[in-house]
């Protein structure tokens, strides 16, 4: 993967989008197994209906994982200093999720060259499912 250098980034630069098409129940179950989040609301249709949801919905942290993948593809995993998400809506099976973000600030702190930015994930209707932010320390040329 191409390395991102501090000098290559301008405030306002967009993070290339990452899209998950047609999220499946299997995707949700895979994340349940990987993360250990076995809250039945995410995989058990009977349970979800009893709780008055139309069907199961994904774990917020699965959606956050997609956003983290989008971000680390851009800044590189070792560069990440802070990652924050706020969950604003549910994601349902069949939804298409688009993750992205932008750089809002370049700065120097703790002897590092850093960038700060905003993150988002939205569904196919354009509704935000996650709003977030990050800080990354980038190498310098």
């Amino acid at each position: 993967m191409a390395k991102l250098y501090f000098e290559d980034v301008k405030e306002g630069d967009e993070i290339p989008a990452f899209e998950v098409k047609n999220l499946s129940r299997t995707d949700i179950v895979k994340y349940a197994g990987a993360s250990g989040d076995f809250n039945p609301i995410h995989h058990d249709q009977t349970f979800a209906e009893a709780a008055r949801y139309p069907t199961v919905f994904s774990q917020g942290m699965l959606n956050a994982g997609f956003v983290s993948k989008c971000l680390t593809d851009y800044v590189g995993r070792p560069s990440l200093r802070r990652f924050k998400v706020r969950f604003t809506s549910q994601v349902w099976p069949g939804d298409t999720i688009t993750c992205g973000g932008k750089v809002t600030k370049k700065l120097e702190a703790d002897g590092e060259k850093r960038i700060e930015g905003e993150l988002f994930a939205k569904n196919q209707k354009g509704e935000a499912v996650i709003q977030g932010g990050f800080v990354a320390a980038l190498p310098s040329r």
């Binding site: 250990g36 942290m61 070792p78 924050k84």
Partner: protein, 154 residues
Amino acid sequence: MAEQDPRIGRSGRPVTMRVEFGKIREFAAAIKDENPIYFDEDYAKKEAGGVPPPPTFMMTQGFWDDGRGHIDLGLDLRRVLHGEQEFEYVKPVVAGDTLTAQGRISSVEKRPGKRGGEMTLVTLETEYKNQRGEVCLYSRSTIIETAKPVEKKD
């Protein structure tokens, strides 16, 4: 000045977890992240000194917690939502590390609910130290207890 909520500072007992390559691969696959840094040990060694866990990997801590890490949040679990999640990365972590996680309630806030009543936001901060006793990261989870539904009289 308002009295501090008695839940602030409440903590669980430390939980020890091993950061494993296999679990990292499984987790990365589940979040559809094909970055070779999670799958190719030689590449990861060059880039990060070892295979790093994905940013949200500490969610797997539950597999290592036999209940000792439990903290009573004092909330009605039928009305709770995961509102926010933050990670602060202080020092690198790689597969093979052993982390000790210590959680505590760092803040409790009350806000007016959107449909009346009062909602409560509890933030749980977990500090992770490695086998050398160095703090590597913090996780901060904000759990929201939604306002109690107004009782309907039919």
